[in-house]
């Protein structure tokens, strides 16, 4: 499955090369022309004639990067200390395998055995500064045959399914699910074409989308994202943000953008018309590429639609396959509707 293949690829912010290569391969197979800018964003035109007036009006985007780690230094013992890249969840790091650098050198994140810890030590959360990666090297010199400071590392989690295939798990569903949705839309024919952008460096400050929006200069933008679902044990329903299995989530506002009312209305209208389930994201924090896109040049009407995802930014997050499928169809209907009626 495309989401799973994409999720398995390493692509920490700033090191999206393997994801980019895969997506470009897909685009080439579809016969879709595309190009890449100096930061690594991919630009593609969807199928369909270029329409007067509205073109280049509509941009759809999804970020390719994932949160991860960067090797900070190799210690004398051969262990690797690391920095987080983006908001990786520190609770989920220890006891996980990772792959490091271009060669995908395997390693594991260790922790002092429980037997060797004092009772007070065990009460504190493990901080990133206390953790390290072990690649089995004898010492610093041995380790440096395989890795260097500056190498990126990501979780080594193979995507899997749960609940008889209804649930998809993986390390980078945020936001390869969005990339997979955008690729799916690019397979289809539209009455007019739109610009698709696969952005870089979302997780370290929405940096790729900033230059992408400037280059494309769209009138309207829709960001395909993955968002937190806190529909968990011991959490009050008001704090769920989103619920897995209840359809894709529409953002009214987050920490970076207020979805343009026309965009939001059109998304709702499309979902209703096509009888697709949707929900509103009931959380106003965190950032998406829509933030910088909406502020590009003299302003862009921007919105966000997301697949709800539990355990975001950990080694194993999960989403519901049907939420993603509904997202694809609502985005598809949105594109058709904007081309048909514009957005005034």
């Amino acid at each position: 499955m495309l989401i799973q293949e994409l999720s398995n690829l390493p692509g920490v912010s700033g090191d999206e090369g393997k994801v980019r290569e895969f997506i470009r391969g897909q685009l080439t197979q579809m016969g879709i022309q595309h190009h890449v800018d100096t930061m690594g964003n991919i630009y593609a035109r969807s199928r369909g004639p270029e329409k007067e007036g509205l073109d280049p009006g509509l941009m759809l985007s999804a970020h390719m990067d994932e949160v991860g780690l960067m090797v900070a230094c190799v210690e004398k013992s051969g262990h690797l200390r690391f920095y987080p890249v983006g908001g990786v969840n520190p609770w989920s790091l220890v006891s996980k395998p990772v792959k490091i650098g271009k060669e995908e050198v395997p390693g594991v994140i260790g922790a002092k055995a429980i037997h060797l810890q004092k009772a007070e030590e065990r009460k504190k959360a493990l901080e990133i500064e206390q953790l390290y990666i072990d690649i089995g090297a004898k010492n610093k010199e041995d380790a440096e045959k395989k890795v260097q400071p500056g190498d990126y590392a990501c979780f080594d989690t193979r995507s899997d399914t749960l609940a008889d295939g209804k649930i998809i798990t993986g390390k980078a569903l945020d936001n390869r699910a969005g990339c997979a949705a955008l690729l799916e839309l690019l397979r289809r024919d539209y009455p007019a074409s739109f610009t698709a952008v696969f952005t870089v460096q979302e997780e370290v400050g929405l940096r790729g989308a900033r230059v992408a929006a400037y280059r494309v200069n769209p009138q309207v933008a829709l960001v395909l994202e993955t968002t937190t679902a806190a529909d968990l044990l011991e959490v009050k329903e008001k704090d769920f943000a989103t619920t897995v299995g209840r359809g894709p989530a529409l953002t009214i506002r987050d920490g970076s953008v207020v979805t343009h009312p026309r965009v939001l209305e059109r998304l709702i209208e499309t979902a209703e018309k096509e009888a697709r389930p949707y929900q509103f994201r009931q959380f106003t924090g965190s950032f998406t590429d829509a933030g910088v896109i909406s502020l590009s040049r003299s302003g862009v009407k921007a919105g966000v639609i997301s697949t709800p995802c539990r355990y975001l930014h950990t080694a194993a997050s999960l989403l519901h396959r049907e939420d993603w499928e509904h997202l694809v169809e609502i985005a598809d209907g949105f594109v058709r509707s904007v081309h048909e009626k514009g957005l005034e």
Partner: protein, 348 residues
């Protein structure tokens, strides 16, 4: 089969304390070619005899086959599963861990925990508590109740990761590494002669209180025994006396739990055959099967051989395969050297 493949296979199989049956049947197949008799006792200990030329002395070589795991205590609203532990976990190593649940059928799940945006800064600095965690199978509540009754056990899921210098990491290396040492020993014994009857014993329930070794030793009335387990490998932040180095050979322990003659014999043999070894001391009863073996019946002289292992009781327990191999060889030469004289030396 290669030792590397065997260790990988047995690490990836599940055998939580008290629920070792499936693993035991796999192990008995792997030892079949080396042994003359195989049986399982009432608690599930797997006992495999390789007869010696004189049938004396009778030696047991024990490694525990159970691993630490989880047990479901409640199905909560939304189908989330509460759990308790079988054996000692550092709870901080559990969030985001994939598990295999043994309910009315095998079901996969993820150990879930709250979203960071709902935590205060103080909460983030505290360790996770087990009651803040739950298993998420993605199934709706009604289906979970059918599939995973309370009392179902869960094992951590982890494919073995191969690392540099013949090292590898995975779950349950404690003490599947010990089982692999027994297997290597059995392989080596094919090429050696031995007077002693050798019992390879894969014990149960070590992680919940060294229980399998209690009854298996009683049932076998051996003249002596060796427990094979893991010990802490060198890691940043641990003191030198707490740990042994990886890749420098198996570790021979001395201390009140261990018969000094066995320690001496293992050491002499390692030196004679130029096998690498390290030494460790333990000032009281060890946390291994040796603890129970020593005080079984009127007392059984016991030795302890350990494989250095980093990150014990996590799902990335890391060891050097060469230590396992050398441990198996040392144990084989030890068995081959056993005779009446040694047994006489054991009386103080």
């Amino acid at each position: 089969m290669e030792l590397r493949v065997l260790l990988q296979e047995i690490s990836q199989r599940d055998g939580v304390s008290g629920f070792e049956q499936l693993l035991a049947s796999y192990l008995s197949q792997q030892f079949e070619v080396f042994v003359d008799e195989t049986r399982t006792d009432h608690l599930g200990n797997l006992i495999m005899l390789k007869k010696g030329s004189k049938g004396f002395p009778r030696v047991i070589l024990c490694a525990h086959m159970d691993e630490i795991g989880l047990m479901v205590t409640k199905v909560e609203k939304g189908g989330f599963l509460r759990f308790t532990s079988l054996g000692g976990f550092d709870v901080r190593t559990l969030p985001g861990q994939v598990v295999t649940l043994y309910g009315t059928r095998k079901v996969k799940g993820i150990i879930g925990f709250t979203a960071p945006h709902l935590q205060t800064d103080t909460e983030k600095k505290k360790s996770a508590e087990m009651d803040q965690l739950f298993i998420d199978t993605g199934f709706p509540e009604e289906q979970v109740k059918e599939l995973i009754p309370v009392g179902s056990v869960a094992a951590l899921q982890r494919s073995v990761v191969e690392l540099m210098n013949q090292s590898c990491a995975g779950k349950a290396m404690d003490d599947r590494a010990g089982i692999a040492v027994l297997w290597q020993c059995a392989t080596e014994l094919q090429k050696l002669t031995h007077e002693a009857d050798v019992y390879f014993v894969a014990t149960v329930q070590e992680e919940v209180g060294v229980r399998g070794a209690v009854v298996s030793t009683y049932g076998l009335t051996p003249d002596l025994g060796v427990a094979v387990d893991v010990c802490h490998g060198n890691i940043p932040g641990a003191q030198e006396h707490q740990v042994s180095e990886l890749g420098k050979g198996p570790v021979i322990t001395s201390g009140p739990n261990i018969h000094p003659v066995i320690t001496r014999k293992l050491t002499t043999i390692a030196k004679d055959y130029r096998l690498p070894f390290q030494k460790d001391v333990s000032p009281g009863p060890t946390g291994t099967d040796a603890r129970a073996i020593q005080v079984s019946m009127e007392g059984v002289p016991v030795g302890l051989l350990s494989i250095p292992l980093r990150y014990m009781h996590t799902s990335v327990e890391l060891l050097d395969l060469d230590d396992v191999k050398q441990g198996g060889r040392l144990l084989a030469y030890f068995v081959s050297s056993l005779d009446k004289n040694l047994v006489e030396e054991l009386s103080c």
